[in-house]
Symmetry: C2
Subunit: 190 residues, 2 copies
Amino acid sequence: MTNNQSKILNVALNLFALHGYDAVGVQQIVVKADVTKPTLYHYFGSKKGLFESILVEKSVSLLQEVSEASRYDGNIVYSVTRVVNTYFSISQYQPMFYRLMLQTWFSPATSETYESISNLHYQQFELIERLFIEASADHGNMKGRHRQYAVSLRGMIDTYIGLSLQGFIELNNDDLVSRIVHQFLYGIFS
Amino acid sequence: MTNNQSKILNVALNLFALHGYDAVGVQQIVVKADVTKPTLYHYFGSKKGLFESILVEKSVSLLQEVSEASRYDGNIVYSVTRVVNTYFSISQYQPMFYRLMLQTWFSPATSETYESISNLHYQQFELIERLFIEASADHGNMKGRHRQYAVSLRGMIDTYIGLSLQGFIELNNDDLVSRIVHQFLYGIFS
DNA sequence: CAACTACTATACCGAACGGTATAGTAGTTG
DNA sequence: CAACTACTATACCGTTCGGTATAGTAGTTG
């Protein structure tokens, strides 16, 4: 990876995450990365290509980590805790990438970036859903609700991360994680 | 409300919701609304002003409905069920407006539309949090976790609605609502 | 009818948009 | 050294961006 190429990737990730894909111009990116437009178009072909390159670069390790965290080893409490911790961790050492994921998660299906990102989200859902499918072998009451559990867990996680990225709450709090996991598994009544 | 004014509002809501604020041009709006640009700028002053007018118009009844649903009358199960049903209902008869809310909820704090929308989200959080504050008088174990409950409930709701708006699931399902409420209150183990 | 307010059409503004044709430099390979 | 590949700078393309100056129409009020 040449210097200019990675500089463009970094600058673009930051700008996209902070201002949104459509609000950032190619000109703005190349100025901040201290390169010229032909350089950008040489490496990435188009603005959309640049966006997809960012996704590809970052999503590999993301899926790797989530896959590792969501494995089922007989204790669903541990697995869910690992998943929550993993997402919180990623959102903290890759905040710009997580911003990008969050703002494109609910982005309109007709937007330029949708098809690029929807696959990444889908794969994450699959990983989490598989955890609950495997766990339902030990917990019969879970049967048939795997999708529901995956949806609600991911929804809770992303809502917390969203609030954290906007400075409303702090995630550096082991107690918070255990309370979230506890609520998810046992509800708010127990 | 004159005809042209409401036509612009409707067209703009649809376009913003489907393509995103930045991706939609003023020209595009006026053509689809069959008016000219000075007409739009006469009523709304700017593109941002148009966006805010849409929010103002729609948010009144939204907050009204959520406020009504989230009242605590001694039975937290009923209240939470009402809240979930209300949000699901709004997302179905005002899908474009809900799309707009969802995609701006995680939008970057530096975007043009952020300050316009963040207040609306905050007011909703307050309503839901107040429900849990009042309920904690009857349920001591809830004390001090009101914020957590508001966050997780809203996160679950919006994740389901997001999946529904993208065609992945159906919300027309009383059983789904009761299962969501049940999971929220009692966890996935019971 | 005259003055006035509310609204809308024509035509245009400078700036920024995504993208490219052309030419060149630097390093590698035969 | 010659041919070639990889990369980058200058300058420019047509189009669209958000926004406006000007003029005019239609309806109301005195």
